[in-house]
């Protein structure tokens, strides 16, 4: 307070005119000015307080996230993927450790020259060009394409694997020369059998940015892209360990916030047997070789060995295959192009389940079953087998235009007479009203043939535990109409424009004519189509796996099984977490006697029919087989050679099926390959892949170290 004393000093009237002498307002002015200062100080403090309140209390949570984003990082310890082993525990896919060199791109970015010097040193060390390395570690964006890094910016980028320990030590011992570069041990996939069953096991590649956006846990993780690696990805992958750490401004770890240890993936035990698989792949390759020796353009083949009773897949092959090891650490563009090259047989495609081909006469089991079940045919009745059958103004003839006279259905199957089955299919088509498409006042069409085909599991995926399966094609009036509705615009456009991209003018003219016909009345299911259906031509496509399932149904007495590759799943702790039971898709609407009749006829095919020549010298008395040849005609590529078989006939155990496109007759190319497989399985003139033709009764054992031992003797237990 201003003292009252000074007031007393104050003269009543100031001495006006005296220079420098204060007037009365001076004191008030001074007081006022200190008051103004108080107001200024107060408003300043309030401003600071209000701003502080706004930042910390109103916007605190937002900035909390920003702060966490600044200072919290997740470090992922990848879980070791589970093994994939065959029925006796042979690993088809296992892990090995490798020394890898990684580059932390954010660490390089912080360096004065953006890491150029470090990349140059690493390039010199690894014998790679620094500019190539720079490309591989740059982030992929909309404008920056491969080569680039598709993962998280904070995940170190792998630039070299299988590095020698000497080079790795150079990096480890000279951190001052290699800041941001690390050498570490990583588990990578290894394939002890090389390309064996490559389509079945599949390959891995790093999760893409889109996948990471959907599931952040996939950041920096390898994901199965095909085969079992894809379909059992989550089972095999396990759970990555995640360590949340707070880091400082320089990205250095300062504190571990939380830690979740990795949990290894489960082991897949397959019903597939590596030896049978090898036998099958060799047989397919020999089949191709035989065809090529006869100057056929064959360049691929597919085969299936199914357990006829359980639907378990014993072998599943498509040749050519590929070495999945190419994908470890990233496949080169040239290698990937090769896997997609049609001239090389498109090795990436698994034709056993992705390929759809007309089955030809191998389809006649369906036609015979339809005739006997729905068309009133009997086993001992005689049917005329002329050399051709006139339908409308077209003549459909037998293979080689042979006439066999009056024969039973048994003989029709054994000798593969087409005209007998044409007649049944044409009659069924006429019964259904011919060109009538299920419209109008009449009863709906029965469509016996397509119904039977679907009952055999054709025309839809088999449901095998692999991705990418085809549905195949089963045509009837309804599906023909649906297809036409969908395609008519294309047909009509092509009818006008033709196929200028087609090199072969004859083929272009053929396709244009077809488009023109389809544009006009492609919705019609014609009598000719129905006759072709009966012999598995033109309007029917099946995958080798689908047809194998159909033959398994004939063999096992009518049960249509969904095939399975994985027999059991063993958890990382060695306990069996899942055991596959046969999955029944349906039962054939066919009497057991009819099935028995067809089996008998198929046995006749091998002993005295179209395949008897192929099986000359085969001990059919010990191992009686049944089978059916198929020779499907295509416009240009040569015939598709089929042979589907099962055995032993009296107690069917396996179905063995082979298809060799672009080769020739079923009996000539596919059947010998099938014979080779049977010999391999049972050890005829060679070692048996399956002792006594038996699959192991029990599961292999997982050792505590994660490796897998063969199954114990019957009644025994796994040692733990």
């Amino acid at each position: 307070m201003l003292s009252s004393k000074e007031q007393l000093f104050q003269p009543k009237r100031p001495e006006a005119g005296l220079p420098g002498v204060a007037r009365r307002p001076v004191r008030r002015r001074r007081r006022l000015r200190i008051g103004v200062l108080r107001v200024l100080v107060l408003s300043m403090l309030i401003t600071l307080g209000a701003r502080l309140w706004f930042l910390q209390v109103m916007e605190g949570s937002h900035y909390n996230e920003v702060a966490a984003g600044n200072s919290i990082r997740e470090v992922v310890t990848p879980a070791v993927r589970g093994l994939i082993v065959d029925d006796v525990g042979r690993p088809l896919v296992e892990n090995r450790t490798t020394l890898v060199i990684t580059v932390d791109r954010s660490a390089l970015a912080r360096q004065r020259d953006s890491g150029r010097a470090v990349l140059a040193r690493v390039g010199a060390l690894l014998g790679q060009k620094p500019q190539d390395l720079a490309q591989r570690i740059r982030l992929c964006t909309a404008t920056v394409g491969q080569p680039c890094w598709n993962g998280s910016p904070y995940q170190p980028v792998l630039i070299a694997d299988d590095v020698s320990s000497q080079r790795a030590l150079t990096v480890i011992e000279h951190p001052e020369d290699y800041p941001g570069v690390a050498a570490e041990v990583r588990a990578v996939r290894t394939y002890p059998f090389g390309s064996l069953a490559s389509h079945t096991v599949g390959y891995l590649s790093p999760a893409s940015q889109d996948e990471v956006a959907k599931n952040p846990d996939l950041n920096g993780v390898l994901v199965g892209r095909s085969g079992l690696e894809a379909s059992y990805d989550t089972v095999v992958r396990g759970h990555d360990g995640v360590k949340r750490v707070s880091v400082d401004r320089f990205g250095r770890l300062s504190k571990v916030m939380s830690e979740k240890p990795p949990v290894g993936g489960s082991t897949l035990v397959l019903s597939m047997d590596a030896k049978v698989q090898k036998v099958l792949e060799d047989a397919l390759q020999h089949g191709i070789d035989r065809a090529r020796a006869e100057h056929k353009p064959a360049d691929n083949a597919a085969g299936v060995v199914l357990d006829a009773q359980t639907g378990q897949v014993v072998a599943l092959a498509s040749v050519p295959g590929y070495d999945p090891a190419q994908f470890v650490g990233g496949i080169s563009a040239a290698n990937y192009q090769h896997l997609l090259d049609p001239a090389a047989g498109t090795p990436l495609i698994s034709r056993a389940l992705e390929g759809a081909y007309p089955p030809g006469s191998a389809f006649k089991i369906v036609s015979a079953a339809t005739a006997m079940t729905n068309m009133g045919a009997t086993g001992d009745a005689l049917y005329d087998c002329p050399s051709d059958l006139q339908v409308g103004n077209t003549s459909f003839h037998n293979f080689d235009s042979e006439a066999l006279g009056s024969i039973t259905l048994h003989q029709a199957l054994v000798a593969s007479c087409d005209t007998v089955f044409y007649k049944f299919a044409y009659d069924a088509w006429l019964q259904d009203g011919g060109l009538r498409r299920g419209q109008g006042p009449s009863a709906p069409p029965n469509e016996w043939f397509s119904k039977m085909a679907r009952a055999f599991g054709l025309g839809r995926p088999t449901g095998i535990d692999l991705p990418g399966e085809t549905s195949g094609l089963v045509t009837d009036r309804e599906s023909r109409q649906a297809l036409w509705d969908q395609m008519k615009d294309t047909y009509c456009r092509r009818a006008k424009t033709g196929y200028p991209e087609e090199r072969d003018p004859g083929r272009a003219a053929y396709l244009t004519k077809l488009a023109s016909e389809n544009c006009a009345d492609g919705y019609l299911y014609r009598g000719g189509d129905a006759t072709q259906f009966a012999i598995g031509q033109n309007v029917v496509d099946v995958s080798p796996l689908q047809l194998a399932v159909a033959y398994a149904a004939i063999a096992n007495g009518g049960t249509v099984l969904s095939p399975r590759l994985v027999k059991a799943v063993i958890g990382p702790d060695g306990k069996v977490t899942q055991q596959t039971k046969p999955v029944v898709m349906g039962h054939l609407p066919v009497a057991p006697e009819t099935l028995s009749y067809i089996r008998d006829a198929l046995a006749g095919v091998v002993t005295s029919g179209t395949a008897s020549g192929t099986f000359g010298g085969f001990p059919l008395d010990v191992l009686p087989l049944g089978g059916k040849t198929g020779t499907a005609e295509t416009y240009s590529d040569g015939d598709i050679s089929w042979f589907a078989s099962f055995g032993p006939v009296n107690n069917p155990r396996y179905v063995v099926l082979v298809v060799i496109p672009k080769s020739g007759q079923g009996a000539k190319f596919a059947a010998p390959a099938v014979r080779e497989v049977w010999e391999g399985i049972y050890g005829i003139n060679r070692d048996a892949a399956l002792p006594a033709g038996q699959e192991p009764a029990s599961l292999p054992c997982q050792r505590p170290d994660g490796s897998v031992a063969p199954p114990p003797a019957p009644g025994g237990r796994c040692e733990r």
Partner: protein, 406 residues
Amino acid sequence: MSLGMIRALPAQRGDFARINSRRSRHQSWLLRVDWVLLLAVLALSVLGALLVWSATKQRQEDVGADPQLYLKRHLVNLVIGIGLAIVVAMIDYRYLRAYAPIVYVASLVGLAAVLFVGTTINGAKAWIVVGFGFQLQPSEFVKVALVVLMAMILGEKRDDRRVGVVNTPSHGDVLLVLGVAALPGVLILAEPDFGMAIDVIIIVLGVLAVSGAPLRWVAGLILAGALVAFFVLQFGLLKPYQLDRLTSFAKSDSNVSSSGYNVDQAKTAIASGGVLGKGLFHGPLTHGEFVPEQQTDFVFTVAGEELGFAGGAAIIGLFGIILWRGLSIAARSHDSFGRLVAVGVVCWFSFQCFVNIGMTLGIMPVTGLPLPFVSYGGSAMFANLVAIGLLQNVYARSRDDDPYPA
């Protein structure tokens, strides 16, 4: 100017007697200390020591140095500063002010020397290394000298007992003050340390305004300052980093520039503290060294992050107490000298407080001004505590009967 008429007034005698009867010279020194001010300063200093410790602990550990090094030095500075403050507070300021010109000249020499042998920190050549890791910043001491000198020039005549009336400072006084302030001001600008220069200008303006000098001077000076600022900006006399600092606070998303980064990190650190903070020594951003210059210019961010709104508001509140007490001491001082000293100190602290905290909150430009009592730094600590000693001195003497005892 002796008129003698006031002394003749009879009513005065009893008054004198009453005041004389409780002459403070014989009073307990305990009663002559502004305890509120003292406790607020001590609280702020202790808080400051903790924050400096927290800000430097991790940084020191990272380089393998003593994590408590800054704490220890800060405490040493604090003890020396308190010692200085006690000395300054004990000696009657009417004797003490005789030393002001010496301090003034010494700091001028220091400011001049700094231009030749100084160390450049953050663009300003403002420090002289004295060894043992200690540095001197003469511009801090110049503020003490300036405050006292200005109070002498503007205040002394008005307390002339022979005149007995209160004089307003003459134009000559004002010019003299401006001259006295301009000398160090130019040297500080030459460093260049704009923040400190503006600090000096604010002190001069504040003291002039309260001294009773004609408002024309105050208004004129403000106008002149605005014109100078205009020309400086207009003709690009600022170095890019200076312009960057001045403008970065106005741009919300200026991550590209380094001061933009500083301000962003400072704001983030403070705001992420929330209401109660992350706990002392537990701020992830402080711990992670995200905020640069954190023990000096950005020390408030440690409080914001680790002590939250509670801690930040407490610091602002403590400043409120100190500044309020300073103004009260100014208001109750018997003589203009004491009053102007107090006002000068208040202007000095409030400007630095506002600019420093405002900078970390993103509402003021980035300047190199430390937060009094809290920031690490010996020179500032000494100068600030000497200033508090002066305030205590003025407080103690304002209880005395007579500024010029017979």
